[in-house]
Symmetry: C2
Subunit: 482 residues, 2 copies
Amino acid sequence: MAKDKEFVQAITPQSEDFSRWYIDVITKADLMDYAPVRGCIVFKPDGFELWEACQRELDRRFKETGHRNAYFPLFIPESFFQKEKEHVEGFNPELPWVTEVGDEKLEERLAVRPTSETIIGHMYSQWVQSYRDLPLLINQWANVVRWEKRTLPFLRTSEFLWQEGHTAHATEQEAREETARMLDVYTDFVENELAIPVLRGQKTPSEQFPGAVATYSIEAMMKDGKAVQAGTSHYLGDNFARGFEIKFLDKDNERKYAHTTSWGMSTRILGALIMVHGDDRGLQLPPRIAPTQVIVIPIGPAKAREQVLAAAEQVITSLRAAGVRVRMDARDDVSPGWKFNEYEMRGIPLRLEIGPRDLEAGQAIVVRRDTGEKTPVALTDLTTIVPQWLTLVQTGMLANAREFLRSHSQSVSSIEDLHTVVRAEKGFALAGWCGDAACEAKVKEVTGATSRNIPFDPPEQITTCVTCQKPALHTVWFGRSY
Amino acid sequence: MAKDKEFVQAITPQSEDFSRWYIDVITKADLMDYAPVRGCIVFKPDGFELWEACQRELDRRFKETGHRNAYFPLFIPESFFQKEKEHVEGFNPELPWVTEVGDEKLEERLAVRPTSETIIGHMYSQWVQSYRDLPLLINQWANVVRWEKRTLPFLRTSEFLWQEGHTAHATEQEAREETARMLDVYTDFVENELAIPVLRGQKTPSEQFPGAVATYSIEAMMKDGKAVQAGTSHYLGDNFARGFEIKFLDKDNERKYAHTTSWGMSTRILGALIMVHGDDRGLQLPPRIAPTQVIVIPIGPAKAREQVLAAAEQVITSLRAAGVRVRMDARDDVSPGWKFNEYEMRGIPLRLEIGPRDLEAGQAIVVRRDTGEKTPVALTDLTTIVPQWLTLVQTGMLANAREFLRSHSQSVSSIEDLHTVVRAEKGFALAGWCGDAACEAKVKEVTGATSRNIPFDPPEQITTCVTCQKPALHTVWFGRSY
């Protein structure tokens, strides 16, 4: 049991040092390792499996909304970046450049893509000729690189994995509808699969995507009260269409620029998943996304082992048939107590303990990772009860995270109060904003918080600017962010 | 009808110019487009969908054989390449180098990965400490870059997509078994899903992977008699383990080097799929891999349209329930004849025509892409007949390709005969080889053919070297290759 204790103690408590807790958990849970390249990580199998689960759920939703996958080159010629002025200024400092191949210098430098609007814009200009070619609804799963100064595993890495949707439309209205639709898709995925509640809204101009007309985001709150931008959807107007000549002959026989959108979600969502649900015992995975939903631990003396394992196998077979992702840890050189701690740390939603006395009573013990509740369940009821409990855990996790977000958010009317809310009380502040970028910058300077977004549906409308106290144009969420 | 004719004529016949035929088909079938980066292509949705189907089938097989996916960085520090001498010599001329980020020069150049043995070797050296950590069975889906001089869409592109398996084992025997197992997995996938028969064997030393002890390959024959190396599996001995210090404490308490393997299959397999099965009418997709297996074409006058579409929808619903991937082309501004040609060109295995007279007779017309056979089938029998026919088409395509391979392969005893077989008769030659690299080089110099592999199971053993006429150590397949 001394061993079990040591196991738990290796994770720094959240209240002591949240950053330390985060690194402890992702390391101990084997999700990642640091790579020998600045700011890059290795996604270890347990971490990559989480991304695969996200990919599967997102990809299904993209296809259901009419999108198809394609793949565009990793390298982007330097000249392409010059075609959209704000875009190049936004990304230039972070771009890695390929300047030579083998022993030969290249005539034109090639950027390693930080995002693909430019090269996709170039291709779309060749694919779009007539209104019949529109809408063009394409998604790409890819690696991208942005040489970040401060990096943090999953949340901000030099190379990361993501999907980027790129669509072209005949009209502004259709493009704006697409932008909204994909923000809905992200919201649905993040709330219903990952059990992470989000704040939906529009980014202020200073925080929007370089080259966009409007950027919309979903923002999530971590357990330390900081924000993670979980997904963004951009209406690009005809900015990229003009830069790359994406023009089409419309029904009215006029040549027009297309209206384009882009939208992306990346492996940073894994960082959010961990920081929203994790606790001092480790990870906590929502059942719908958990690669393993139930871990079966056989218990009891060696002489009962064969009988217990046989019963456990039966349970596993019937649970699998009921659509439950279940596996067993039958190692005999590790104590059950050690295993209990290990799978709590790995965040498996339900644990099933089966020992000889349970078998005599025709039952197994089911333990919830979220509440710690232990309940004996008749073996014959497992295929009904386990799926029900998985749903309960999922719903409960979302409700808890929603309550955390609500109780850590409040409206403020002065910069001082905003400072208190984001620093001392560790949460988000809802504040009025006159629309002047200088007032927004002042908030950041004084409090370290940035505007998260202008909510579509704010809990209240605030009428004076938090900085200058003049009439507010918008009500804005502010928070410190990752 | 003039329009239909034009449609077909746009594809150059294979007999006239096979290379032209290939480009015509992949362009017309919308599989790819040329990218504005040297030697790179864009995988358009119809092309990428084929790769997604391959990924799904391969990934399933990898997981069934105990492998898990992970993700390692795109960039590899220059110093890593120096640690395995043959490896660096093999890849150096093709490596793109990142030398600067933003406006800053990097202290150490970073290669864009051409393959990941080095960076994965570095990580494994940290993950493997004890025999308990072995075997380590990891696969990565990734993009890689090799700056090729001559490029050809899918078959040889500067950037390509692939999977690379990397495993570490405690003993040579286990590593060799893994190497063989993955060659079996590739064989199973390529023959049973893609209907491409392959020749299995070991590469000669001059053709093996830089840094490997032994490379095994599966080789396929295109319709122009040229070879495509469809997949490779390498036993790397302890070469990379020594270079990167992958050492473990064994059961006997001794520290030993691990034995590693790697194995890969790339998007070049799509080129093989097209060149093995395609004909003068276009693509021909094996049913098991075809994203759409059946295309439904409604036929008849406008006044019958509603009735026909309703019946077609019913057919589609019942076929989907039977597990068939089916869709309808209900466009009314394109003639049925045009559609027939289009979907033959796109290689859809079965076409289902439904018109008002068919409905009266309670039937639909089923047309096979491979044989052109047209058969009326009762609507009530479709869910039984269609899956049966899909299996027939799949089996028939493999049998045809096998017969083509057999009839274009023959044994030879002189370089002159070898030359005739690979050039004039457009096939593979089976020849004896003394084991001297000079004799192998001579074959290439005179005939343009390279050794494909030393088959595990040659149709016959040849006892004299095709070049020097001394006793042969091996019987070898030779062929011109892509």
